[in-house]
């Protein structure tokens, strides 16, 4: 194990929440004369948070809004103070809680560079040495002497980010910054972070972007109600999804899929009613529905009018990324058009999905009018697992990627 760069020991922080927060003189004065004892409630933003960050490590912090991620980063940055606990830094730390935080719209790009530089405690020498580099990286040489209020938001972000890339430290504390801007800019941010990792810098990243966290970080901390509830590899992300979307992904012991009650759907089933639906012919292992075997999603539907209908299933991963769509209208399949009952089976092939949570959306479309007959979000949520390492949490083996087809490999020598 590499040497410790950052030590967080028993960190706690609470905010006083009054029944009615006194924010005014009137309130305060009234309180002095009031005989009623004030009702105070402590909101524990952080409770006993401890972890270590080692050299060269990229640690991700995930958790729902209000889990304490931002409070933690604020305390690590010195913006806010802990009530209890201690933090030791074994190297120079810099925190990037926001990009362009020090920018003022009336100042020119050049002036803002200098202002930000002094906010981040650059020496005069550093900034003068790096000035041209910053401007070149941002690619706004022509507009450097224009007030930034005249910049497009992309230019603004590029300039702000360029300044940050020039920060030189051993430990980087990053909050959600990489999720702004256009694709190109996000890519730049991500590349920069990867560059830092490659250079052996130590990183702490708080983010809601699970894909990014799973790709960038080699260790993840899951926070909930101000506490660290679990530390581990990318499998923690699955755990997070059970907390973030408990109605779909909180599987009890031995339960591997949820099927939503469609009668509660806001869509009226007029021309088309869904009689029965579910999963069948599936295999399970200790971790979930087996990815190594095919399984079937079936629907029994009844058409009461003549409508040319298409049934679609959309597969999403737990974070909401669309994996693929399958349709009932394929070459050689029967048309769903005349009135009557139909049995529709979608045969999901083996070795397609990965050991992850997936949700399936159901849509029925009137093909002639291109209108929606029925729609149900997450009508099925499934927990998939690989037979060979159903409970193995080694991320290298199971979790990289949204799908896991078997790709034939030929090796010659």
């Amino acid at each position: 194990m590499n040497e410790v760069m950052l030590e967080v020991k028993n960190l706690s922080k609470s905010f006083r929440m009054r029944e009615k927060r006194v924010d005014s003189l009137k309130g305060s004065i009234a309180q002095i004369f009031s005989s009623k004892k004030e009702v105070m409630e402590d909101f524990h933003a952080l409770t006993n948070v401890s972890f270590n960050l080692h050299e060269g490590e990229a640690l991700g912090i995930i958790g729902k809004n209000g889990a304490g991620k931002s409070t933690l980063l604020r305390i690590l940055s010195g913006i806010s103070q802990p009530d209890e606990g201690e933090i030791n830094f074994y190297g120079k730390a810099v925190s990037i809680l926001d990009i362009g935080a020090g920018f003022h719209p009336e100042l020119t790009g050049r002036e803002n560079i200098y202002l930000s530089a002094s906010l981040y405690k650059f020496s005069r020498k550093t900034i003068e040495e790096r000035f041209n580099e910053i401007v070149a990286f941002s690619g706004i040489e022509k507009f450097i002497d224009e007030p930034v209020k005249n910049y497009s938001s992309g230019m603004y972000l590029r300039l702000a980010f360029s300044i940050i890339t020039c920060l030189d430290a051993d430990i980087y504390l990053i909050d959600e910054v990489v999720n702004v801007g256009d694709a190109n800019f996000q890519m730049k941010c991500k590349n920069k972070i990867e560059e830092l990792i490659a250079a052996g810098k130590t990183l702490l990243i708080a983010s809601h972007n699970m894909n990014e966290i799973s790709v960038l970080c080699n260790r993840i901390i899951l926070m909930e109600y101000g506490k660290v509830i679990e530390t581990g590899g990318a499998d923690i992300i699955q755990k997070y999804m059970t907390i973030a979307l408990p109605q779909y992904f909180n599987f009890t012991e031995g339960e591997f899929f949820h099927i939503k009650n469609l009668s509660e759907s806001p869509f009226e089933q007029k021309e088309l009613s869904i009689v029965a639906y579910g999963l069948k012919d599936y295999h399970t292992n200790s971790g979930g529905v087996s990815v190594n075997h095919p399984f079937v999603i079936f629907l029994d539907i009844e058409l009461t009018e003549v409508i040319h209908t298409e049934i679609r299933l959309k597969f999403y991963d737990a974070t909401g990324a669309l994996i693929f769509t399958c349709s009932s209208r394929q070459k050689g399949t029967m048309n769903i058009e005349t009135t009557g009952k139909y049995h529709v089976e979608f045969q999901i092939p083996a070795n397609l999905l990965n050991s992850r949570f997936y949700s399936v959306e159901l849509r029925a479309v009137n093909m002639d009018k291109q209108t929606l007959l029925f729609k149900a979000d997450k009508f099925i949520a499934i927990k998939m697992a690989d037979d060979y390492n159903a409970t193995d949490t080694n991320r290298e083996l199971i979790l990289q990627g949204l799908v896991k087809p078997i790709v034939p490999v030929a090796i010659t020598k």
Partner: protein, 274 residues
């Protein structure tokens, strides 16, 4: 394992004033950056630029010049305009510090929530902005002294000390207000009225000779009145009561140091309250 050197430690509890002031000193570049930023923003895209800072004192001067010369017929050893302007100069620097320093943390909350730096830098940068505006007024005063053939006394060598007294007096209230407005937003609305009221308690437009004797004890407790008295003593040779100066400045210094302690104690909670 070998004990490694700790670069920095964060812990609950309070920072000592001394180590805090060292941090502020290390951030002196930032004080300058903020001051330059504020000056640029305030006067960007205006034709008069920094000279706008003269407009407010000058309009005051014109109104009171009319009132005290035509209506009240004041007799002074120097032209009324010069007399009044020495007062206006000190008073406006004082109010700039009270008013601006009092609201500066609120005005920069986005920054405070995102970047760590000693927050005292913000009111101090306002003192610097005020100093620039004060210097413009000073030029005008020097011009007036020459124009009215009053001349410039050698007592001007005390100017830096008096300006420091002016700043400390302003910050002694400004620092308190800046830390308090975070908790009590009412003060934000109250400050302009306090300033507007304060000018009548301060001999800005009228000489202390007009004040009845049984009210003069007020000046023992009124640092700004004494700052103005010192300007008048330096520039137009009016008499001064050094007992009053010493007494009121001691009070201001105590307030100032108390304000620093209060500010440092609250500094780390500013971001929580914003």
């Amino acid at each position: 394992m070998v004990e490694r050197q700790i670069y920095k430690t964060i812990r609950g509890g309070h920072q000592s004033l001394w180590s805090y002031l060292k941090d502020v000193y290390d951030s002196r570049g930032l004080i300058l950056s903020f001051a330059i930023r504020d000056l640029k923003i305030q006067y960007a895209q205006t034709y008069l630029g920094i000279f706008w800072s003269l407009v407010q004192p000058l309009t005051g001067l014109i109104i009171f010049n009319f009132f005290f010369q035509r209506v009240i017929h004041l007799s002074l050893s120097v032209p009324y305009a010069v007399f009044a302007f020495t007062g206006i100069m000190g008073w406006f620097y004082f109010t700039a510090l009270v008013g601006q320093a009092g609201t500066v943390l609120m005005a920069n909350q986005q920054l405070i929530k995102k970047i760590n730096f000693p927050r005292l830098v913000l009111p101090l940068s306002k003192a610097l902005v005020g100093l620039v505006e004060f210097s413009i007024s000073l030029m005008l005063l020097l011009g007036m002294l020459l124009f009215f053939r009053i001349g410039i006394s050698s007592k001007i060598i005390f100017l830096p000390l008096v300006v420091i007294a002016n700043v400390v007096t302003g910050l002694s209230i400004g620092i308190w207000l800046s830390a308090l407005t975070i908790r009590f937003r009412d003060l934000h609305h109250l400050i302009p009225y306090l300033i507007g009221f304060g000018i009548w308690l301060t001999p800005v437009f009228y000489p202390t000779t007009m004040v009845p004797d049984n009210f003069k004890w007020i000046y023992y407790l009124h640092p700004v009145a004494n700052v103005i008295a010192l300007y008048r003593w330096m520039f137009i040779g009016l008499p001064i009561d050094f007992m009053q100066v010493a007494c009121s400045f001691t009070m201001a210094a105590v307030m100032f140091i108390g304000g620093l302690f209060f500010f440092v104690r609250n500094e780390k909670f500013v971001a929580d309250y914003l």
